[in-house]
């Protein structure tokens, strides 16, 4: 095995929660897909419900991996050529997520607090930190996320709860669909594609769990937990920002900037900035780790650590070159990404079913 660490089911829960938090805190492509604001929370509910269904099936298939990662499993059951092709696709998928996450973070910093600093500075530093964490293995990533997620949640709670003055519950009404149910498709797809596209990483983490039977529990719990939190967050956004919610590029920051209590508790965006750095660096670390381990397993290497820094450098370059404008980034994540990620995840599910069937045949014969 390339990775020697073992993580607990609770740590997996925190990792997954963190993965989902990052795109919400940063430049939010979700609000861009919204058409009618007051029913935005419905998209969350639908997206999470669909993701739950998918993840339930996916994790059940994961249990057949035993001590293999998804990449090893596919290779051993689908033959070296076809298995390797799928493995490469998956590794590229993880890599894209790491790179786009870096870009998302850099974009956020340059549009908000430090517009004059070149984006590469942020990306370079965060990717370096992420790579550093990834080099230390899954255990360290798990521990950091376990430590930081409660902090980020606390910050989020502060941000949400201190804005009570601006809450206007009437903004949640009316509950109707001016353009028919079709307007739910894009935002729900956006949420669904992020959930299932990124939670595929469970397939990489699965063999490194110390109690594998608890895996499905923590995946489902993480999905539910983040789902409930997003619904709360979304409702908070709606009741505070009303129709202007869909115009905001970084709603969490706007929320934090509104806080103004007793001339004393105000201007606490600092905690949001801290969450950005912590969250995105750990997420990048995790996906870099998955990319490196996956590559190592495809190429049958002895250790994955030497791959991390080169992959980090590649991710930096990729994140800079892939999108010329912020608009490119938003367009990618509101359109092509949804289609690509959903297709990839769903076809992966089918491939896994086939692989499992082949596996069972092998056991029989």
């Amino acid at each position: 095995m390339l990775e020697h660490g073992k993580i607990s089911a609770r740590q997996l829960f925190f990792i997954l929660v963190l993965i989902r938090f990052v795109p919400v805190m940063l430049l939010c492509t979700y609000s861009y897909t919204l058409k009618t604001v007051q029913i935005a929370w419905l998209n969350d509910v639908l997206g999470v419900a669909l993701s739950l269904l998918y993840l339930y099936l996916f994790v059940r298939l994961c249990k057949g991996f035993k001590d293999k990662t998804i990449i090893e499993y596919l290779e051993s059951n689908l033959g070296p050529v076809f298995g390797k092709i799928i493995g490469i696709i998956l590794v590229i998928h993880f890599f894209i997520i790491a790179a786009s996450d870096a870009r998302d973070m850099g974009e956020t910093f340059t549009t908000t607090i430090m517009p004059e600093t070149p984006i590469i500075v942020f990306i370079l530093i965060i990717v370096f930190l992420g790579a550093n964490a990834a080099r230390n293995g899954l255990e360290v990533i798990a521990r950091i996320s376990e430590f930081t997620v409660p902090i980020i949640l606390l910050f989020l709670f502060i941000t949400i709860s201190l804005n009570y003055k601006f809450i206007d519950v009437k903004n949640l009404k009316p509950f109707y669909f001016p353009q028919g149910f079709s307007e739910l498709v894009q935002p729900t797809g956006s949420i669904l594609s992020l959930y299932i596209g990124e939670f595929i990483i469970v397939g990489m983490i699965f063999p490194y769990l110390n109690k594998m039977q608890k895996c499905s529990k923590s995946v489902i719990l993480a999905t539910l937990f983040t789902g409930v939190l997003f619904v709360i967050l979304c409702i908070d956004m709606i009741v505070i920002f009303g129709p202007t919610f869909k115009t905001l590029s970084i709603p969490i920051l706007s929320l934090a900037k509104l806080i103004f209590i007793a001339n004393f508790i105000e201007r606490i965006e600092g905690i949001v900035i801290l969450s950005w750095v912590l969250g995105s660096a750990i997420k990048i670390a995790l996906f870099l780790w998955a990319t490196a381990v996956g590559t190592g397993q495809i190429l049958k290497l002895k250790s994955y650590q030497p791959l991390i820094y080169p992959l980090g450098a590649l991710a930096t370059v990729n994140s800079i070159l892939n999108y010329e404008r912020a608009a490119d980034f938003i367009n990618f994540f509101t359109g092509p990404w949804i289609v690509y990620s959903s297709t990839l995840s769903i076809s992966l599910l089918i491939i896994l079913y086939i692989a499992q069937a082949l596996d069972k045949q092998k056991v029989k014969s």
């Binding site: 550093n132 521990r143 430590f147």
Partner: protein, 545 residues
């Protein structure tokens, strides 16, 4: 009980291997030879081994019926207790009764001396010259009766040492006032007195090819994890015959610690016996080094450096408050100057309007940018602190006057430094003094500077990145196999009871998860319950009868 058996096996191995290791030392020619029956020869080889040192005393005393048998007494002046020596060794020899044995043979004299005559507490018989050499260096005195090829070693140790006194650098208001001193045997006695149990085990090793420093590894059998003991021994074995000597516990620490380049100490040093006792009860190991009052605890976690005995001696609410206070100060000492720098030079939007204007007014005309100002002031403060420690006691007040008046007031009045900066530096300094263990304070002080630079170049992003780097480092650190940042990363729920806050003692059901397999400390039902109503009344009515 699996552990004790395993441990016993291990211990046997240790016992067997020890003398073999000792043989390689004392490089002089005579070291391996046996005691000769010719006194002259012995005398010469001892003299030769010590290079005829001035403090080596070789005295011949005549003994026997005809006063014809010489007894050679060897000791080193200054290491023995002179009164004890004359009372228990010299006097019995000189008043050797010769009436019963008409013409005793040397062997008979030797046996007589050994069995009844000498009134010392502790007596051993040896056959090798090397043993004599080693032991007299510890303060023993050796007797060789002419014509025998063995020697008697009498314990007359008595050298000058500092009495057990209050720990200087780790004081406590309500806690024992005993601290370690420089003598290892006194130190082990302090521990023995606190843990009256035969399971308290003290394993002694000598380290160094020249110095022969004694090192005691102390643990409670059945609590401590034997794997850790093996690891400690392996690491010590590696340096055992390589280093010249180990004079300081800090030296040993550097040789055996996990992360040599880390700013964080992964071995805790303390001069408080109670702290070591507490650690032993948690299944940790203490390493005592002869010649230093600072002794080591392994494995340790970051939280232990923030812990003081005060947390346990006061009521747990106050103990928890102190804990939180220390963690907050830990963060303040680490980040306050950098947060000031980041906010005043990058994120002015994060201060309330009135505060931002007041700060701007103060910085009006200050020549240096905030980051340089912070850096400079921190360095000035470090210089002041170092001077304050190294200075002769009598000059002490002068430094504080210079520090306060010249650096503080004059610099602010001259407009060289903003008043806010001096407040920040002062607060940081005070916060950094709150750590109970000095070595973690050093880590904070060193890490402060890179974070100031990060803050000065990238603002809050830089600080966050710096903190994240520290976090990554902390979570990847291990101290003898135990995660250093436990119980925060990984989160160990049962160990959180003694981390950010301190639970009352009756809630300490388990021992720390990673240090021991014997994890249950006590039952869960120890919470005190008030007396039943009737009993209370009986008590109250007592005076009326």
């Amino acid at each position: 009980m699996v552990i004790p058996i395993f441990w016993r096996k291990l211990f046997k191995k240790m016992k067997n291997s020890e003398p073999v290791n000792n043989n390689n030392k004392n490089q002089s020619k005579s070291s391996n030879s046996y005691i000769s029956s010719y006194l002259k020869e012995n005398e010469e080889s001892i003299r030769e081994a010590f290079g005829n040192s001035a403090d080596l005393v070789l005295r011949k005393v005549k003994i026997g019926a005809n006063q014809n048998i010489n007894v050679l007494i060897v000791y080193i002046e200054g290491l023995i207790d002179n009164k004890l020596m004359s009372k228990t060794v010299i006097k019995p020899i000189t008043t050797f009764p010769d009436n019963k044995l008409k013409s005793p043979s040397p062997n008979e004299i030797h046996n007589k001396l050994k069995e009844s005559q000498l009134t010392v507490n502790h007596l051993t018989e040896v056959y090798k010259l090397e043993d004599i050499l080693n032991k007299i260096l510890d303060g023993y005195c050796a007797l060789i009766v002419e014509g025998t090829n063995k020697a008697l070693l009498c314990d007359v140790i008595g050298f000058e040492h500092r009495p057990v006194s209050e720990p200087i650098n780790e004081s406590a208001i309500r806690g024992p006032h005993e601290g370690f001193n420089e003598t290892i045997r006194v130190n082990t006695s302090l521990l023995r007195r606190r843990i009256k149990d035969p399971r308290l085990t003290i394993e002694e090793l000598t380290l160094g090819k020249i110095g022969n420093t004694k090192i005691d590894i102390i643990y409670i059998r059945g609590l401590a994890n034997p794997k850790v003991l093996q690891e400690i021994k392996n690491r010590i074995k590696k340096i055992k015959d390589e280093v010249d000597s180990i004079q300081l516990s800090g030296q040993l620490e550097e040789y055996i610690q996990d992360a040599p380049f880390s700013p964080f100490p992964t071995i805790l040093n303390t001069e408080r016996p109670d702290r070591i006792v507490g650690a032993l009860y948690e299944g940790r190991y203490a390493i005592l080094v002869d010649g230093t009052p600072y002794n080591l605890i392994v494995p340790c976690t970051l939280g232990m450096f923030i812990t003081s005995i005060e947390d346990y001696t006061q009521r747990f609410f106050y103990g928890s408050f102190l804990r939180l206070l220390r963690w907050v100060s830990f963060l303040i000492a680490l980040t306050l100057p950098s947060i000031y720098v980041a906010i005043t030079s990058f994120h002015q939007e994060m201060l309330p309007t009135n505060l931002v204007l007041a700060l701007a007014a103060q910085r009006e005309g200050v020549p240096l940018p905030a980051v340089a100002e912070a850096f400079m002031m921190e360095i000035v403060f470090e210089i002041l602190r170092e001077a304050g420690i190294r200075m002769p006691r009598l000059v002490g007040p002068a430094i504080s006057i210079v520090g306060v008046l010249v650096i503080g007031q004059a610099a602010v009045q001259a407009g060289l430094v903003s008043a806010a900066m001096t407040i920040i530096v002062g607060l940081t300094a005070i916060a950094s003094f709150i750590t109970p263990i000095y070595s973690i304070g050093i880590a904070i002080r060193l890490l402060r500077f890179p974070i100031i630079i990060l803050a000065g170049s990238l603002g809050l992003f830089g600080i966050s990145a710096g903190l994240l780097a520290i976090l990554i480092h902390l979570t990847s650190l291990r101290s003898f196999g135990v995660p250093y940042f436990e119980p925060f990363g990984p989160i160990i729920l049962s160990d959180l009871k003694d981390s950010l806050i301190r639970f009352p003692f009756w809630a300490y059901r388990t021992r720390p998860k990673f240090t021991t397999h014997n994890s249950i400390r006590q039952t869960a039902r120890l919470k005190p319950k008030p007396l039943r109503q009737e009993e209370k009344e009986i008590e109250h009515n007592y005076g009326d009868d």
